[in-house]
Symmetry: C2
């Protein structure tokens, strides 16, 4: 573990250019940053795009920090409007999903942080998906 | 602990309006978000402004996510240029400080995240400051 590490994610309006294993616009920067306790992804989604499924984490707390565009989050049985500056803490065990509104004036760009009571689990090792549950705006 | 909590920080160009105990433009949103494992502050600094001192954390890892403006971070004996998209992992025990360049075209706006191997320490309870050490651009 080095004392620090610098990663250039690029200006926000270039975040959608990143091609990762989970598709375009989603970058799990934690691998490049070599973090020990925190997970971080940068996200950019076109109007009308949504997360492909609901998920929750068993141990990890998540923080969604929205930076541009207009969208919604599904949080258990509720739907919350989000825009630049909306920040949402999602506790372990809470189902969540998100979408960029079809008429959003720009891409929904946001950061997702993850941390729990110990070393950071690897991406996917603390997540439960429900690929059958209808998305709340379907 | 509720299942989730939503806090409106406002659009990035309003972050400097927040008046907190550490001055204008620095908002420890973790209290409003009621996070358990992660600390978060939103930050906006005018051109020429710098952090008032160096500091390091004993247990917590920090992540600086720069969103606008041009600045620099001091990291132990090095100085790193930062701009929108620059993300810096700072490991425990690493001295750091920051400034917005005097000729930055806009405010330096950034998020600072903190997490460690357990519940989040309260702000200040894991930090060591050196108020005598000259800032690297002094």
């Amino acid at each position: 573990m080095t004392e620090y590490k610098v990663v250039e994610l690029g200006a926000l309006d270039t975040w959608d250019e990143f091609e990762g294993p989970l598709g375009r616009g989603k970058r799990f920067a934690e691998f490049e940053l070599e973090t020990k306790y925190m997970g971080m992804s940068s996200n950019a989604a076109d109007p009308g795009k949504s997360a492909p499924w609901w998920h929750f984490h068993s141990q990890e707390e998540e923080l969604y920090i929205f930076l541009s565009g207009k969208g919604q989050m599904g949080l258990n049985d509720e739907v919350v409007d989000v825009e630049a500056g909306t920040t949402v803490r999602v506790s372990p065990g809470t189902w969540s999903t998100w979408r960029c509104l079809p008429d959003s004036p720009e891409q929904l760009r946001f950061i997702v942080m993850r941390a729990g009571g110990g070393d950071l689990p690897r991406v996917g090792h603390d997540a439960t998906m429900d690929k059958e549950r209808p998305l709340p705006w379907a």
